[in-house]
Each structure stands twice: as C-alpha cells, then as structure tokens.
Amino acid sequence: MELSIEIFILATLAFGLMAYVIGRLHKQLGSIMTILGSLTIFGGIAYLGFTGGLTGETAYLTFTQFEISEFGLFFAIIVSFVFAMVSFFNPFFIKQYKYPALYSMLFMFSLAGAIGVFFSSNLLYLFFFFEFVVWTSLFLIPMGRSKKAASWYYGFSAAGSFMLLFAILMIYNANNGSFHISGIGSVTGTTQIIVFIFMSGAAFTKLGAFPLHIWLPKVLTNAPDPVSAVFSGGLEKLGAFVALLAIVNMGGIGFIIPSIDMYFGQMIIATLGALTIVFGTLMAIRQDDAKKLLAYSSMSNGGYILVGFSMLTSQGVAGGLYHIVAHAIASTAAFLAIAAVARVAGTTKMKELGGIIHKMPVTYMVYLIAIISMAGIPPMGGFISKWMIFQAVIDKGMIFIAIATVFGSIGSFLYVFRPLAALFLGQELPQFKKTVKEAPFFMLLPMIILSLLSVYTGVLPGVIIDFINKIFVDMQLNYNIVMNGFAIEGYTSGIEGVGPSLLNPLLIACVFGVGVFVAFLIFIVLKKSKKIDLMDTYTAGNFVYTEEHLHYSVDFYAPLERLYEKYIHIMKNFYKSLANKVREFGAFMKYFFFTNKPEITVFWIVALMVFLLWGDVL
C-alpha cells in the first residue's frame, strides 16, 4: 500500500476538526477523537514507513514538497508515538480545561505541524509547519496553571523560529533562489557560518538548551499535565531535528583547533551542550515541584543530545539519536506518571505528597522505570545512549565535556529519586487515604507500554541501531554502528576507521536482573519494616504538628544548593532585564515623541531639517 504523507497531515487536521466539532457536543468524546486520530496517524506512518509505502507526492498541498527521508521518518514515528500515548490521558483531564473542544483540536493540529516539519523538503514550508506548531501549541499552555508561561514560550519560540527563518533565507540566497533542503549542505564561507549559528540557535531554543532555556521549565511546569508530556517527549524533539540538520548535516564549521583536532563550531556546541547538562542538573536538584524537576531534567537531557551530535563521530551521533528515542520514551512516561498522581492528588509539590505507592503501585513502577532510564542506569534505553555519548566524548579526549556528562548522570541520581521517594514512598498522608486511587486502565495502558519500551530499548538495541544506520546512509554520512547479535560491536567511520567499542546490553541486563533478584531475596528473607503512624514523630522532645516542614524532601540537598543558590537566576534575570530594557526604550520614546503638544512634533521636524541643512549634508 502506498500513501502520500500529505494524506497523513490532512487526516490529522481533519481529526482535529472532528475532535472540535464532537468536542463541542460532548467533551470526552472529542478527546477520544484525539486518541483515535493520533493512534491512526502513528500506526499509519510507522507501518508504511517500515514497509516503504510512504510517498512524498503532493496532490492537495501543491504549494509545498515532501520527501520521505529516514531521519524524517525516525522523528515522525517518535513524535506521533508520544502524541498517541499522551492522547490516552486527554479524556481524563479534559474537564479541567477552559476550552475542551479547542484543546482537542489544537492537540491534533500541533501533531500535524510536527509531521509537516519532519517531511518537508522545502525549507520555507518546513518553517511554515514549524511556526504552525508554535501557535497551535501556544494556546494549549494557558489552559494549565499559569497564563504567563505562554508569552515566555512565544517569545523564545518566535526568536528561535525567526533564527531558523533567517538561516533558511540565507540558504535561499546562496543557492540561487532554491528552497530545497539539500541546500543546507551546499552553503560555503561566511554564509555557512551564519547559517550554522542561526540554525543552531533555533535548535537550542526549541530544545531548551542553555542559554535559551528559560521557557522550558516555565512551560513544562505550568502547562496542563498531558501537554507537558507532549512538550518534553515530542515537541522538544523538533529542536533535535533542527540540530541534526544543522550540526550533523553541515559537519565541521569554522577553523580546526589543532590540539584536539576538532572544529571550532563543534567545540562551541559541545561546550554549550555540556553547560546545558550541568545547569539543568543543578537546577533540577533544588526543585520542590516534581514537574519542574522533570522539566529541568528534560533540559539537561537535551544537552546530551547536543553533546552527542557535536562529536561528529559514529558513536556520538548515534548516541544522540538513540538518546532522542530513550528520552522521548522515558520523559513521556515520567510526566504521565506525575500527571496521573496530580489528577488524584491535585498537586505536584513534593512536600505536599507522600506514600502514594500504597494506592498507585503501577504508576510507581512506571515512574521508577522512567527515571532509571533518565538517569542512564541499565537495563534501560537511557543507559545505552548515555554510554555511547560518554564513549564518543572520551574518544575525542574532551575531558571537561566528559566530566560534565558524568556530572549530569550522577546529578540525575540525586534528583530523579527525590520525587520517587517524596511522592510515592514514605508514609501515606491522611488526606490522600480516601481520595487517591490507582489510575484507570486506559491511563495505565500507555504508561505500561512506555515502560516496556524503555526496557526493550535498553536490552535489545538492534532495531533502533539498524534504523540509525539507515539514517546515516540516507544523510550520506560516513558513520556506521556495527551490531553483532545483541551486542554493539564497534563502529566504522570515515575519519577514525574501525574502532573498538563493545557494549552488550543483553548481558548487562542479565547481570542486573541477577542483582535485582538477589536484592529481592534479601527483601523476602529479612524481617519486615515496622509500620508506624504518620503522626508518630517527635523532635527535641516535642510532638510535631506541621509535619510538612519536616518532610525529608524539604531542603534535601540544602548544603549542595548553598554552593550555587546565589547564581541560579542569572539567565532569567538577564532576559527579564532585557524585556525591561525594551519596555524602558518604549517608555522613553513615548515620553519624547508622544506628548500632547504639537509644537514638539514641529520641533523635531525643524530640528531634523536644521541638522541636515547644516553644512551640506544633503
């Protein structure tokens, strides 16, 4: 069977409109349309993509052109999968929204836009879809907790997409008026550097990388819970897509730094990526809101993707691509788990929660698996990708970048287990004894699927590595990852030849499994822990009434935080004062030019004339 990709885009839009119409009549039914729609789209693209049945012909959207590329397919499958999984949550959250029908429609529309981005071979329409995603997702955000997040989001997104546009227009200019996507590779000289800078800027904004990251935690914290999952797992990956086009596709930019044998451009991206990892980690450590914590973790994981790409070796790029998959799965699962808790508990603040595991054991397991993957511990997908990125960085001999990546991994131990402990473990709070129940089956289903996939990608990387190899061939890159059975045996690359790199995830998973089994045995054999009442707490001989303040997740890492807490707002304050400067400039201009006195206007006109007539200016 053959179908054009435009059919999928139009079908997604049609599903969106249907969801709206039906949603006006019945809220839940409308949101069920989003499930049907995104599942159909995901299934269709994945099935046809793997069987080679997708075509790029345009019969209806004749103004643009599509091409089916392996990397486009890769991203489209991931993002539509994330949408499909998240859509299961929509019916359970739809009642909280101010405009439920609109929500369902925009949810589908942003999926349509994302698919458009991934398959456009015309750069102008790539931008068209990019912007389309921006404004459709924009109106989803204020349905959540804060309205201000939307303008932050728009400000950064617009800056990012206009950087992309500027780069596209430079490419257009350099390629004699052609918008074809292959033009990215054929720009040279100064134009190439400008295009590289602006495209990377666009990628950084969309990915939420330092120093353009401020919007990400704001949006992920304040957006409706399912939308946060979509952003973190899906839409953020648009940035990774642009990064792939810019960083990997354009290759080395700038001059070569002889001592490390790397291009200057690579170095900059790697450094910024590493800074993203470090800042994301440090910020995540000090959050009390579980969503905000995951948001900063999303940011730091974006940094891994950038570091991987910037190495420009088989392992680095493959690691980056693998990390896109692993992080999409894990962060979606984590956000969904938190969403499930928030639905019943009404808060995501860690100090207000506790002991949820007694009522929501499955959600707990889902969250556990997700954070294991995010922290890069075997046997989950995140381990393989982070491992490959480590190796690539170390192969290049980049010590500081390597330290940053390791720091990020260790840091993520510090933070991802905090929500686990604070939200799920510990004593069950009295106020949740009656209200909290395990999530209904249709919410558990996507979470379980995601968890299984996390394990699958961590144990059997073959399918994804094959796909990544196909991407390398498709992008005419000289990279390759060699698989031997279940193990990653090595890599070949045009630059460094065949290198040794052995990673046997299956074996690691087995060892890990044995370890878990032993731990389980010990757990069974040893005596059970003693159950005590929540109020059974004393400190300094006094009975404690406000136990929230003594919740052990409050100020958990206070000594560590004290080291850097003075500096955390630097970037935010920078953007805030930038906004203030614009405002002041506006107020200044208003004061000077917009008075109620016409003579001021006349004065300016006369002043301009006098200035010009002064000694033959004209």
């Binding site: 068209f128 939307a150 200019n173 614009v582 506006g586 208003k590 917009f594 016409p598 301009l608």
Partner: protein
C-alpha cells in the same frame, strides 16, 4: 466608464446629502457600495482631465496597482461605514467627502492634485476624529497634519521650479537624470507624508487620536486611512522618488527607528488601544520600508492585510472599551469568554499580524522577507540586504510577546464581562477573519495576483 466617477459621485452625493439630511446615511451607504463595486467594471485606461494630455494636464492613473488599492480601501471603507453609520448619522456628508478624497489619493497621477486630495481627506479625517470628543487631540492632529501637508507642498514647489512638471510619471523621468538635486525637496515631501503615514518622529498625533478613538474613528483612521496613505506614499516612493545618498541614510534611520520603537512602545503599554496604535506605527514603518527598497508589490498586500486586521482589532477593542468603560488590559480580561466568535476573529487578526502560518499575514510577511533575499536583490538603503530583515524579525518577536499577552488575558482569565456586539458587526468581523484565512491558505493564487502587479521591467507602478 471612466474612473473619474469614483471621485465625482461621492462629492456630488456629499452636496446632495447636505440638502436632504434624512436620506444622507442611505446615500452614503449606496455611494460607498458603488465605490466598492465600480472598480471591477471601470475602464482600465488613464483619465485625462480637461482635454490636456499629460504631462500638461491632470490625469488619473488607472492600473492594476490603483485597482487593487481602490478595491481594498473602498471595501474597508464600506464595511466601516456599514457597521457604524447607525451610530454616527450626522457624519454622512463628511464621510462622503472622505471617500472622494481617498479615491482621489489613490487615483491621481499629479503631484499637486495629490496635495489637494491629501487636504480633502485630511479635513474629513479631522472632522471624523471630533467624534472622539477630545477637541485638544483633534486640534493637535490638525496642526500636525497641516504642517505635514505644508512641507509636502514646499517640497513640491521646489521640484516644480526645477523640473517644470507636476505629473508623476514625467517627474520620475526628470528625477532619474537629476537625482542629487532633488534630495532636499524629496526629504520635505517625505516628512510631509510621514506625518500622515505615522512615521516617527512626526506622528505624535496618533496617540491622541487612536488612543481615544471610538467605533468609527478607530477603524476609519487605523484601517482605511492608514491603508490608503501607505499605498499612496508607496506609489511615490516606488514610482517618483529616487532614494540615494544621505536621503537613503535618513530614511533608513527613520524607518528602522519607527519599526523598533513602535514595537517597544506597544510593549511598554498596558492599554489595549495604545498597544494597537503603537503596533500600527511599526506596521506602517514596515510597509513604507518595503516600498522604499523596491518590494512594492508585496508591500501593497502587506498594507492591505494589515488594514483588514486592524479593522477587526480596533473594531473589537473599541466596542469592548465602550461597554467596559476602560481599555486597560486588566479591565478587559476574560472578555472573549462569553464572546467566542468575536474572540476567534480577533485572534485570527492578531495572528495574521504576527505573520503566523495559515493566515494572510504569513504569506505577505514571508514573501516580503524572501524579497530581501532574492539573489539579484540589491538594497538601495544603507545596511545592505540583511539589516532590515533582522529589524523586521526582531520587531516581530516583540510584537508576538505583547499580542500573546493580550490574547491570553482576553481569553483565559475568568470574568463576567458580557459585551453585546451587533449581529452585523459580528458578521462583518467573521467574514473578514475568514478572508484572512482563505488568503492565507491559497498562497499560490495570492502570489500570482502579486506577480501580475509587477511588469517585466520590475517597476510595478507605471504599467
């Protein structure tokens, strides 16, 4: 049938309407409908008045540019009138004069005749703004407008003295050979027209007028007049002026500051009408910029798209202000919760101004920007091909932030603001919003339309 009827009929009707006051609103509606429909049927040939061939006599230039402008401006004029006339019956005669003046502006091919029409439409505009009931502001507008048109006239006198002609096409050929002598008079004319076109620093009147506008004056000045003046200014910039040397530097500075300061001032404002008026200053700057650098065909449509959006934005905000009693953003919050249809149209108009895809604004903004990057494009303004696209893009970011703030306030806050919009107004606004989407979807067709404005020589004005 000759294009002169577009000027003659409204003027005649204006006289008649003074005699028969009772039917004057109907007469106005009828004539403005006529002015909208007539361009579709009129002869596409220049009109020579008084039997003197141009360049001696006054002529009206009828070409595709004039036709497009006429349809757009008269269309907006008709809609503004149709929606508001019941409230402002007394102004019928004045509005008829305004219609004659605007059509004259768009049609005339004579520089002095243009001055006459500037004055006619200007006087009508001053009278329309008296309905704001802010006499001081109207007086300021009057002073600024008069100074502007005097400067225009002064520049024109100098040019006439040098060249001996007032005909635009003839002047254009004269200018080509004597570029450097014409810089000073051009500067005077540029400042003169800049007052009406809302360029900084000649535009202090805008705040007083649009900041206190009502249903009629807001849409009339911000949408109809702004579009007409921008197009006329564009006609001169693209067809007559020769911009080089110091003049180019001054114009570049004025336009760059107008665009950026306009957006910054809008960002610094908290009143809905002020936001819109400062934003329209920036938009005017962009349109004039596009005309100046020779991207006139897209500038035409930029101006039109902007006019349509501003009609919706000012129409809605003024109506809201009238009902709520204040145009502070915080007072208006949640206004769209109970007025979804109006809200959606307002959103479409705003998104179109931001240049987001699916809407007309995207098509014009993108193609205008692409114009800067055409391989054979050479900018006549200092700063090369790249500075101005960057200015436009930076401006768009600032613009986006305050529009999104405004939209989220109007949509997502809880409130019990319930404003009644007349069915006619709702209908008109929705139709215009749909038009913005339709033009945004059929971009291929729009591009063909624009391409037809440009003749093979690349100059689109005098074909």
């Amino acid at each position: 049938m000759s294009a002169i009827l577009l000027i003659a009929v409204p003027l005649l009707a204006a006289f008649i309407s003074i005699l028969v006051k009772k039917v004057s609103p109907y007469l106005l509606l009828l004539v403005s409908l006529f002015a909208l429909v007539y361009p579709f049927f009129m002869d596409m040939s220049d009109v020579i008045i008084g039997g003197f061939d141009s360049p001696i006599g006054i002529n009206l230039v009828v070409n595709k540019f004039a036709l497009t402008s006429l349809i757009a401006v008269n269309g907006l004029f008709f809609l503004v009138v149709a929606v508001n006339i019941a409230q402002y019956k007394k102004l019928s005669s004045i509005l008829l004069v305004a219609l004659a003046g605007l059509n004259g502006l768009l049609l005339t091919g004579d520089l002095f005749n243009l001055f006459v029409f500037i004055e006619i439409s200007g006087i009508a505009a001053y009278l329309i703004t008296t309905t704001n009931k802010k006499p001081l502001q109207t007086f300021n507008y009057l002073v600024a407008g008069t100074v502007g048109s005097s400067l225009y006239l002064l520049g024109l006198i100098i040019l006439y003295n040098m060249s001996g002609t007032l005909n635009m096409a003839d002047m254009a050929t004269f200018v080509e050979g004597n570029g450097m002598y014409t810089l000073f008079p051009f500067l005077l004319m540029f400042i003169g027209l800049g007052v009406e076109a809302k360029l900084l620093p000649f535009n202090s009147w805008v705040k007083g007028i649009l900041g206190h506008s009502n249903n009629l004056s807001g849409a009339m000045i911000a949408s109809v007049y702004a579009t007409a003046i921008a197009l006329v200014f564009g006609k001169l910039l693209a067809g007559v002026f020769q911009i080089e040397g110091t003049l180019a530097l001054i114009i570049a500075l004025v336009l760059g500051i107008t665009i950026l300061a306009g957006e910054a001032m809008a960002y610094a404002s908290t009143k809905a009408r002020e936001i819109l008026l400062y934003s329209s200053i920036a938009q005017a700057g962009i349109v004039i910029l596009l005309f100046t650098v020779g991207l006139g065909a897209w500038a035409t449509f930029f101006a039109i798209a902007n006019g349509v959006s501003k009609f919706i934005l000012f129409g809605v905000v003024n109506r809201l202000t009238e009902e709520v009693g204040s145009d502070e953003m915080d007072q208006l919050k949640g206004s769209f919760v109970n007025n979804k249809l109006i809200g959606v149209s307002f959103t479409v108009a705003a998104l179109s101004i931001l240049g987001l895809p699916l809407f007309f604004g995207f098509v014009v903004k993108m193609n205008s920007l692409i114009g800067f990057f055409e391989p054979d494009f050479v900018s006549n303004l200092p700063g090369g091909n790249f500075i101005f696209p960057i200015i436009i893009l930076v401006a768009s970011v600032i613009e986006g932030v305050y529009f999104v703030k405004l939209l989220t306030k109007l949509w997502y806050k809880d409130s019990d603001v319930k404003v009644n919009f007349t069915p006619l107004f709702k209908y008109v606004v929705v139709v215009l919003a749909v038009a913005l989407i339709v033009f945004g979807l059929f971009q291929g067709e729009v591009e063909e339309l624009v391409a037809s404005l440009i003749n093979p020589g690349g100059v689109f004005i005098w074909n």
